[in-house]
Amino acid sequence: MKNSTSQDPSQSRGRNIALGAAFGLLIGGGLDLILGDTGWGLVIGILLGALAGYWIKFPLPAMQYPPHVVRRIVLSAVLFFVFLFGSQWLLNQYIGQSYQVLVALAPSIPATLLGLSIASAIAHLDELQRRIQLEAIGIAFGGSVIITFSYALMIQVGAPEVSWMFVPLLMVLLWGIGKLWTMWKYR
């Protein structure tokens, strides 16, 4: 029988490190944006992500998205970051008060496109990969509810209020952790 399950360990480790660093970049960049653009979030995010990728011993299976779906996700993500940084920059300039709400909400449009693209991509996966995504999204939803609810209770006893931007970032972080867990389960 042909060798079918083995994969070059150094190749899979390199891929795991790259994926971990990319995920760390996303989370660290988000933290930077929320906490005031210090740059440390990016650096720490990439380092921790790469370290986590190095620590993961099994090869992370690639989700089989059709190329046109990947292009849609990449385009939506690029638009999202352009709108996000553009709106932040504009809000720091002098713009009329009547436009401020529109400018502040502008990133929600590409964010919606990105969400729809991801949903479409998940619909194109095979049955096990859809199950992995469903379980990961369940973990992200449940974890976010527990953490945000617990923090809301802590605010009542003096914990500092934090930006709502932490909620989607937390959901993305838990989605990534959930995917890792379910991928390991079905490895």
Binding site: M1, K2, P61, Q129, K185, R187
Partner: protein, 73 residues
């Protein structure tokens, strides 16, 4: 720790070996990922009915000849 449900036994690995196919080749033939074939073979995942039909049809066997449900009780 393993919280994956108890799965059906199956002969997929043996049948695949008889054809000298890799997991990737079999996955391509039935339109799923290699990971899915691996999870079925290792008993971590039970396929849907359409996929089970596809797999058994590929080997010209009935579903019962590929998947053994006796352990399910």
């Amino acid at each position: 720790m393993d919280d994956v449900e108890i799965s059906m036994k199956n002969r997929l690995k043996v049948l695949r070996a008889e054809q000298n196919w890799s997991q990737a080749v079999l996955a391509h033939k039935v339109g799923v990922s290699r990971q899915t074939i691996n999870a079925i073979e290792t008993g971590k995942y039970d396929p849907s009915l359409p996929l089970a039909f596809k797999l058994s049809k590929l080997f010209n066997l009935s579903i019962e000849e590929v998947f053994d449900p006796t352990d399910l009780g």
